[in-house]
Symmetry: C2
DNA sequence: AAGCGCCACCCAATCGATTGGGTAAGTGTG
DNA sequence: CACACTTACCCAATCGATTGGGTGGCGCTT
């Protein structure tokens, strides 16, 4: 029965003040001091009357007016490559939860991983006077981040990291290592990597973690076994086709579940059975992985926690604290797509 | 090099006015009147100087102050079941595009299809003083919509419809009909429906469209052939299990691609091959459908357009116009999962 | 009884932009 | 030359909440 918001005319501080016969500033102080004693502002009795009436009338302060005075909007801007990417959508769920708990609201915008669009969306957010930004689409080597620093815009990175900036990410290097160990231990010696976009730290770190660990185990892998690709299903399919046109690995590591699904499709159309002829491992363990016709092995990254952590880091940045990068630990979940030992340990040339 | 936004101290109207030696109100009028002649407000020469300086200083009006005065925030609230549902995420992309073109910014929140959460999120949005709402999670028979109407909150529905409210949806009945015709024509006579959540108009309409058309073609189908389920992969799997425990249809229609994928998994673990032993058709034609190992037949709903349409309808509501429901036409895309003629037209009892 | 302090408030400026209502200078008309 | 009218501006109130700086009145002290 509240009457604030879009349609109705909201209750204002002054309305309450008039009805109570006191000054608006007193009402403000009472409502503002969260402690039950409005220290020095009003008597306990008055304070109670104020709170009572505020509740009854469904008073909620006008964020416009409040923000105008305090220069803080309680808004956080979130920029992601695209929300229709399940990974980012899930991280955003974490952001929303955490932000709501702290009384912040969040804007999200899709940049489609396009630098011009990243700039445009950033500018829109700043024009809205967000208190800070969460950037989920950082491109390595882009000039945007130093520029934001120069403009003193408070921000943190999420999902992808970049040297020298606070970020909340998965420990992608570790994730890649886990996959390398798993495939090595199941007897594979002949593997390829579907590596993702080379401008994303996620792709680079996962690939590097895999390759480095693979070599340290004594495995062989060179640049031609690593194929860069888009993160989506079609990208994974194309990458797998490119790989299969040249050689036949016994295992594929795709740095993204969707790319892995695309690769599974390509394998099937080459007459290969996933999990028997070729092992496939994905990354992120999206809700789809376990439910696929052939359940997909995948590295589970704590997506919700990454989102939540990003908000917490941003809080600290806003308080002026020094903040470093946080990397959350992933775990490997082995399923049918890579459970069997390698059929032909010698590999195929 | 703009200096507005989170970190820097923004340029204000007054700053410009002082630098130009004129009154802030004059600056405001010049910048406000979009026509190149600031009619009556200033001379052409002054107007040009003002616009020039505004550009140079990177002036952008403070939305807080502007909104305080004009009582319009330029904010739209969007409530969806969850953004990690690819369907809603894609609709949101459409919303974002369209809203940005019109100078609006959008909030999204997840309600998780929980009535209490729907209320909470709605209240948060109204407390933020959004100009209007786009509701993507309407529950049939919920009391929330009449209440919003009573509070004079401008809103439109998206994705799901409800009698008597403006909405932008897919023509789900037609979509169900297309599937019925397709399966009938490929020789199937023994079908089951994975119907989705009974509180969602999407589920109900798609199912009803299918069932009614099926009957009108002479087919038999009764209530036990229709299984309600969650929209996600696990829900689809469970529903398929329930169906297979009782009978063996030659075709399954799932009202959602993710449920269809789950069903494909269940079929496989029963030793049935999708597309050969059992046909499967999904709904929405998400980007995944065509790329699955066994490509999934699906009804393509114009998700981006639905989002865009929702924004346009809301614009009209905000202008006080009368607005009715819009239903966009879907198209069926047949793929390997249901391309073959029914293996056993007589069906299996 | 004069003095002091504190309690419980009130006053007014302020944030940045909008907008109805002036007003002085300049132009044209009869 | 006086009057009306337009041009090109300025003035000040306003939106709703916050906040530094008062100020009466009461109680207590010595």
């Amino acid at each position: 029965m509240k009457d604030n918001g879009a349609g109705g005319q909201a209750v204002t501080l002054k309305d309450l003040a008039v009805e109570l016969g006191i000054h608006p500033s007193t009402v403000s102080r009472v409502l503002h001091s969260s402690s039950d004693v409005a220290k020095g502002a009003a008597s306990a009795a008055t304070a109670e009357r104020v709170r009572e009436l505020a509740r009854k009338r469904g008073y909620s302060p006008d964020p416009q007016a409040m923000g105008l005075r305090t220069r803080r909007t309680g808004l956080l801007g979130v920029i992601v490559p695209r929300l229709s990417d399940l990974v980012l959508a899930t991280m955003y769920e974490g952001i929303e939860q955490s932000a709501a708990e702290l009384g912040f609201s969040t804007f999200v915008m899709n940049s489609l991983d396009d630098p011009a669009e990243q700039r445009r969306k950033t500018d829109i957010m700043l024009a809205r006077r967000v208190d800070g930004l969460i950037i989920g689409d950082a491109h390595l080597g882009s000039g945007l981040l130093p520029e934001l620093t120069a403009r003193k815009v408070p921000f943190v990175l999420m999902n992808r990291r970049a040297q020298g900036y606070p970020s909340a990410t998965c420990d992608d290097v570790l994730g890649g290592e886990l996959v390398a160990e798993h495939l090595w231990n199941t007897g594979h010696r002949n593997v390829s990597v579907i590596a993702g976009e080379p401008y994303a730290s996620t792709a680079i770190d996962r690939t590097a973690g895999f390759v480095d660990r693979w070599k340290s185990l004594g495995g062989e892998i060179d640049d031609t076994d690593v194929v860069w690709s888009r993160f989506d299903t079609a990208g994974g399919r194309e990458a797998a086709e490119a790989i299969l046109s040249k050689r036949r690995p016994t295992a594929l590591f795709a740095v993204n579940d969707f790319a892995a699904i695309g690769a599974m499709g390509a394998l099937r159309s080459h007459g290969l059975t996933v999990g028997k002829d070729v092992a496939v491992v994905g990354f992120n363990d999206t809700s789809l992985a376990a439910e696929l016709p052939i359940p997909l092995s995948s590295v589970r990254s704590p997506m919700l926690d990454i989102g939540r952590t990003a908000v917490q880091l941003l809080q600290r940045v806003l308080r002026g604290e020094d903040v470093e990068a946080v990397r959350l630990k992933p775990t490997l979940h082995v399923r049918e797509s890579s459970a069997q030992a390698c059929p032909d340990p010698s590999g195929t040339p």
